[in-house]
Each structure stands twice: as C-alpha cells, then as structure tokens.
C-alpha cells in the first residue's frame, strides 16, 4: 500500500533556505501539507497540537536542537511519541549518528543531500511513495 501523501509533514530548520528546499522537494514527491518550524521548541509546540505523519528536522538549532526535540518527542509518552522522525543535518560524525539512533531517529540524512536521497530515506521510513 502506498503512502498517504495528504499526511501533515513538519520541516524543522533554522535556515529558511533549507526549509524552502526541503518543502519544494517534498512538493515534488507529492506532499503538499507541509508546515515549518525554525527550532525544536517551536516544533514541539506544533507537534503537540497537530498530528504529523513525518518530522524532518535539522540538528544544530537554538534554543532547542533537533536531538533534544527528538528526545522530547520520544520521551513524552503521548500519542505523538512514535511519529516518524528523519534527521537532516551537517553533523556527520559517527557519534552523532549513534546518538540520534539511540534517541530514536528513524533515518539520518547528511547535508548536502539530493532529491533522490531524500525520497529514498522517506520511503525507507514510511513505505512505498508510489
């Protein structure tokens, strides 16, 4: 069964350019209900209020980083705690990937990335994109 592309997707990044790039690439894939947040705090507030089918987040943000956002989401014990979460970041050290995995990330994309990589990783997390 292919993925429901009408799901709400949240893109979290403090660089507006990157938000715009990811939103455009998601639109090309077929996701049109895409919201954006500029840091973890803002994103967490949005996740608590609205049901998201996917969160795509940067790591290095202030005041709340992407890793802290992931930990808060996974540790909340709420209906949103198992939301699929993909980290898209320039942090490419092994320990970063391990820390994100241990915090419960579903996939990890290193910047710079291309449209195929984004599509492949989303598909790996959500299923067949059609």
């Amino acid at each position: 069964m292919s993925v429901n592309k009408n799901m709400n997707v949240l893109v979290v990044d403090d660089y507006q350019t990157m938000v715009r790039i990811i939103k455009n690439l998601l639109k090309q894939i077929g996701f049109n209900n895409v919201d954006e947040a500029s840091d973890g705090t803002m994103a967490l507030g949005m996740i608590k209020k609205k049901q998201y089918g996917l969160v795509i987040s940067d790591w290095n943000m202030e005041p709340m980083s992407g890793l802290e956002l992931l930990k808060q989401v996974r540790g909340a014990g709420e209906h949103f705690s198992d939301v699929p979460f993909i980290m898209v970041t320039a942090e490419s050290k092994t320990e970063n990937v391990i820390a994100a995995r241990q915090a419960g990330v579903n996939n990890y994309i290193v910047k710079p990335f291309n449209a195929d990589t984004l599509k492949t990783k989303i598909s790996a997390v959500l299923g067949d994109l059609g």
């Binding site: 350019t17 990157m18 715009r20 455009n24 910047k111 291309n114």
Partner: protein
C-alpha cells in the same frame, strides 16, 4: 630559539644573577644596580615590542571587522539563494503546467545546489565563533599585561600605510557604510555640471 624566548630567557637570567649576587657577599651595590638597570631595559624593550605589535587593532578593528564581513557574506548568500529559489519556483510552476519533466529535473538540481547556503553559513558561523574566542583571549592577555607591566600603548590604531591607487582598494563595503548607486549618480552628475 626565537627572539622572544631569548628575551624572556634573558629576563630570567638577570633576575637569577641579581638574586645570586644579593645572597652572596661579594657583589657591590654598583653591580646589582647595573644588573637591575639591564633588567629594566629588557622589560622596556618587551613593552615596546608589545606596543609595536598594535594588538589593539586586532581587538578594536581587525577581528570585529572580519566577523562583520563574514556575517555580511552569510546575509548576501541567503538573499541571493532566496532569489534563485523564487525564480526556480516560478519556472517549476510553468513546467508543471506544460508537463516539461526535463525542465523540472533541472530545477530540482538547482534546489539541491542551493543547499550550499546552509552548509557555508554553518561553516562561517564556526569561523566567527573562533574569531570571537581569539578576541576574548587577546583581551584577557592585554588586561594581564596592563596589570603586571602598567598601561601599554597597544590600543593605538595603525594608520593605513598604503599609498596611491593601492590605498583605494578596500573591497566591498558593509551595507551600512556603502555608498548607494543614487549617491554615486548624484556625485557623477556634479562633475557634469
């Protein structure tokens, strides 16, 4: 051995010599006075060297100027990237209506390439943070030197030594200091009148 470490070694050597002569009974007041005068001269030379290095320039103009320039690079690339993205979005919209998939693929390549702004922005932010750390360390070093050796005239800016046409080369100006095209047009028009 560098010149600086030699000078530091010389200070230590003189101090040890003075202590030795004061502890021993053979040294005359004249000899000790001569040693102390030598020590004073060496310290004066060091102070002069510090003043000549114009470290105040680093703290007051060079490093703040460099960080401002880097911030301006981030801002300018962000603006340029957003303009490129807006143009791509318009092209993609048209390509979608005509079903030109090849054109959409090319637009996608541009979207991907625009990610450079995020990466370079993060790298530049790291450089700015490092420069600010250096600035803080220089500040602490100068404060310590001032406390121990008295005020040193290190804050005096070094005048621009360049001459002629070379003195006109200053690169892009910061937006706040830049002269606008309208200002330039007005200035040129004054020559024509």
């Amino acid at each position: 051995m560098t010149e600086k470490s030699y000078e530091r070694g010389k200070v230590v050597e003189i101090i040890q010599s003075v202590i030795h002569k004061m502890e021993g009974s053979g040294a005359s007041d004249h000899e000790i006075h001569a040693e102390l005068a030598d020590l004073s001269h060496t310290i004066d030379l060091l102070r002069h060297d510090i003043a000549q290095s114009h470290t105040g320039n680093l703290k007051h103009t060079d490093i703040p100027g460099a960080t401002d320039e880097l911030d301006a690079v981030v801002l300018a690339t962000a603006e340029a990237t957003n303009t490129i993205m807006a143009a791509c979005e318009a092209i993609e919209k048209r390509a979608n209506t005509t079903g030109d998939n090849a054109l959409i693929d090319e637009v996608t390549r541009i979207y991907e390439a625009c990610g450079f702004q995020d990466i370079t922005g993060q790298r530049i932010s790291k450089v700015v943070a490092t420069l600010r750390q250096i600035e803080t360390k220089i500040d602490h070093l100068l404060s310590a030197l001032d406390r121990r050796m008295g005020p040193i005239d290190h804050a005096v800016p070094v005048p621009d030594q360049r001459q002629g046409d070379k003195a006109l080369l200053n690169g892009p100006q910061m937006p706040a200091k830049a002269v606008s095209q309208d200002d330039i047009d007005r200035l040129l028009a004054e020559f024509d009148n």
